[in-house]
Symmetry: C2
Subunit: 83 residues, 2 copies
């Protein structure tokens, strides 16, 4: 499983849209607080691998493009830990 | 905005994976309870329009393929109303 504190450190740019507490600043973005880590990993990898288009996917593809599997596991663990 | 009770009526099949209360039965599926309705609409349309691949997208494409815009708005309103 990912490292929550490493995920928190990595999450600064994510907070811009998903909120400092994982509650999105606009309703077109998903809340991430308390989401399942395994799902978050799957979604981030789908963005990274350009398997997700539509909606805000273009923004997320850019955000995810440089994330390593470890970054993704850490971010997922961090957001899953918020409630 | 969608109709929560119509969304609840439509959500029976969704509950199979996303849980009767919007908390997923397995961590590879997302929790939907309290998610932003606007995001949920965007995601469901992306599945319906086959813009999302990767992860469990294949299952969701099948589920979303016959949903009307009205169904999608109602389901989104219903899940956003759960907390």
């Amino acid at each position: 499983a990912g490292d929550v504190s490493a995920g928190k450190a990595k999450s600064a740019v994510c907070a811009t849209c998903h909120g400092a507490d994982g509650i999105a600043i606009m309703p077109v973005y998903p809340n991430l607080a308390g989401q399942n880590a395994e799902y978050l990993e799957s979604a981030l990898k789908a963005y990274r691998d350009k398997q997700r288009q539509g909606g805000m996917a273009a923004i997320m593809q850019m955000q995810a493009t440089n994330l390593s599997d470890e970054d993704i596991a850490n971010l997922a663990a961090y957001y899953a830990s918020l409630n």
